[in-house]
């Protein structure tokens, strides 16, 4: 077996921006003194005239992006998820969401896999915040291929889009010729009728591993990759709930307000189903190496596997 490629989705974001920049004159990239970390510095060196460093001022960053969008250019406002969705929430809500302006927000360093910087920088709330804004598209890609596809799709979509990227290098899992990114459409990665695991972002690869382990024990888990959290692929989720009876949601995000909540929102109305939410359990993170943190907080393959097993045992 060939070695799995590992790429952080923030890298994918930056590469996709360069491709877009080459193709379209109207692409403008903004950052807030994190161009080295968000990787937009690469865009800056290719297209210095279309790169704007706003300095450490994220609220202004969002407003400037909105102003640029009113003139027909397509701005990609880049910073860490904590500052994009958290600090500048109201600017995103009022200057970008309410106006329905064509602004793309590239939020990197989401979740606890930020690692050593600790809880102050580990944003586990951004999906919850962003999905409350009417008209906001929320995308959380699972790997390099999906992240690039998401950036291209965001460019093509007319309206505000929030894209969530990670700091940690993650395995490339979507390198199949059939892979197709469709905004708002989930992807069934494994078929199974015993239980459904709905995963998003960097948790998708761990969910697949967990499913493999379950399979070796005779449990056939369906695995669904939800890259677009809003609009949510409700039909796919309801169908899976009907066919498998139990649903587990896995995300590197608070269990309050994220994909788990979004899935519960749908199922409680359309097909009430027992749902287990695996994620950050209403606590702040802490400093540490990303991989160890994911393990500690139960988001590695082993953690997902054992939580799914417990869930099945408790509810059989």
């Amino acid at each position: 077996m060939s070695e799995v490629k590992m790429i952080a989705t923030r890298e994918s974001y930056a590469s996709a921006l360069i491709e877009l920049g080459k193709k379209y004159d109207n692409v403008v990239v903004l950052d807030a003194d994190l161009a080295g970390a968000t990787k937009t510095a690469k865009f800056k060196s290719e297209f210095p005239d279309r790169f704007i460093n706003c300095g450490i001022a994220e609220c202004n960053l969002m407003g400037v992006a909105a102003g640029i969008a009113t003139t027909g250019k397509i701005p990609f406002a880049s910073t860490f998820a904590m500052f994009a969705a958290g600090r500048a929430f109201e600017q995103v809500r009022n200057s970008i969401g309410y106006t329905a302006l064509n602004v793309k927000i590239g939020a990197t360093h989401a979740g606890i896999s930020v690692g050593e910087d600790g809880a102050s920088h580990q944003c586990n709330e951004d999906i919850a915040l962003m999905r409350t804004i009417p008209g906001m598209v929320v995308i959380n890609p699972s790997d390099d291929i999906e992240a690039k596809a998401a950036v291209f799709a965001a460019y093509e979509h007319n309206g505000p889009v929030y894209m969530r990227f990670g700091r940690l290098a993650v395995p490339v899992i979507n390198d199949s010729p059939e892979y197709k990114f469709e905004l708002g459409k989930g992807i069934t990665l494994r078929d199974g009728d015993d239980i459904t695991i709905v995963a998003t972002g960097l948790c998708v690869s761990a969910a697949l591993e967990a499913a493999d382990k379950l399979k070796s024990e005779g449990v056939n888990a369906r695995v669904i990759n939800i890259h677009t959290i809003k609009p949510l692929d409700e039909d796919l989720i309801v169908k899976a709930a009907k066919e498998t009876g139990k649903v587990v949601v896995v995300e590197e995000h608070s269990v309050i307000g994220g994909l788990g909540s979004a899935v519960c929102d749908v199922l409680s109305e359309k097909y009430p189903t027992l749902v287990k939410k695996i994620g950050i359990q209403d606590v702040f993170g802490e400093s540490g190496p990303a991989v160890k943190l994911l393990k500690k907080y139960g988001l590695d393959a082993e953690g997902i596997y054992s939580q799914v097993k417990d869930f099945i045992k408790e509810n059989n």
Partner: protein, 279 residues
């Protein structure tokens, strides 16, 4: 347009403000009346390539009403300029109206940016000005701020970037009526000296009288000559200007006149309008 004509326009706009706020039974007459002459000058003299029949004309000068609560003045100005029927002013703040309590660019012809949450308009104006620089467009961008509004930190984030990027196609105007909801700006959280603050962010600063069209003309013309710097015009104004019982009264920040007060205000404005016609 000469000064008397501008004064007549401003008088009609003031009547529109009083009528719409009275009809809505809510709104912000004080800061609308203080901003009226500035808006009149902008829409009847200063803004180039604007066309009420083509509100999104790509080469138009842009305007952002950062102090979005002065929406009644904005709407009355846009209506007077021909963007929509002045009769619609009476639908202000009603359910289903395209004249929302604060400007909504999606629904109102002529509104270049939604606003209302203070401090955010300047950033959008900076974005517009940067965009023009990127693609070598010649349009200019104007933003109108309240003097209380500049307590918002985002204003200074935007000012820093504007100065840093030498946006000489950007003019911010501070409607310096000295009053905000809770009292005078000095009492609440003193923003003075406003001029020195903008200078410190590398702006060219001009002082003007917000109710004197000669003074406004001189200020806006001077701004056009400035190269390599954005301009801030600190326009000294009177809150409630034109309706004597509202002038300099903080209590008229955000309440509508009752029927009696409405009548009194309209009589005063109509009389002032008739006097202008005699000139």
């Amino acid at each position: 347009m000469n000064k008397i004509e501008l004064q007549k326009k401003a008088n009609k706009i003031r009547q529109g403000i009083v009528a719409s706020v009275h009809s809505a039974k809510a709104g912000h007459p004080g800061g609308s009346l203080s901003a009226t002459d500035i808006l009149t000058y902008l829409y009847f003299v200063e803004l180039k390539n604007i066309d009420p029949k083509d509100p999104k004309k790509p080469d138009r000068d842009r305007f952002v009403l950062s102090k979005g609560h002065a929406a009644p003045a904005y709407y009355a100005t846009l209506a007077e300029r021909g963007y929509f029927d002045p009769k619609d002013l009476l639908t202000l703040r009603q359910i289903g109206s395209y004249l929302q309590g604060h400007p909504d660019m999606k629904g109102t012809p002529g509104v270049d940016m939604s606003s209302g949450s203070l401090g955010q308009g300047v950033s959008a104006a900076v974005g517009m000005a940067i965009s023009a620089k990127i693609s070598n467009d010649n349009y200019r961008v104007y933003a109108l701020l309240g003097d209380g509004e500049i307590q918002e930190g985002q204003v200074w984030e935007a000012a820093m970037l504007a100065g840093h990027r030498k946006l000489d196609n950007l003019v911010v105007i501070v409607d310096n009526n000295n009053l905000q909801i809770d009292g005078t700006v000095e009492e609440v959280c003193c923003p003075y000296p406003i001029d020195k603050k903008f200078e410190a962010f590398n702006f060219h600063v001009i002082h003007a009288d917000a109710h004197d069209f000669d003074s406004l003309e001189a200020a806006f013309n001077e701004a056009k000559e400035v190269k390599g710097k954005p301009t801030a015009i600190i326009a000294k104004s009177v809150k409630g200007k034109g309706v004597s019982f509202m002038e300099n009264k903080v209590s008229w920040h955000g309440v509508a006149p009752n029927d009696e007060e409405y009548k009194e205000a309209m009589e005063e404005l109509k009389k002032a309008g008739e006097a202008l016609c005699q000139k």
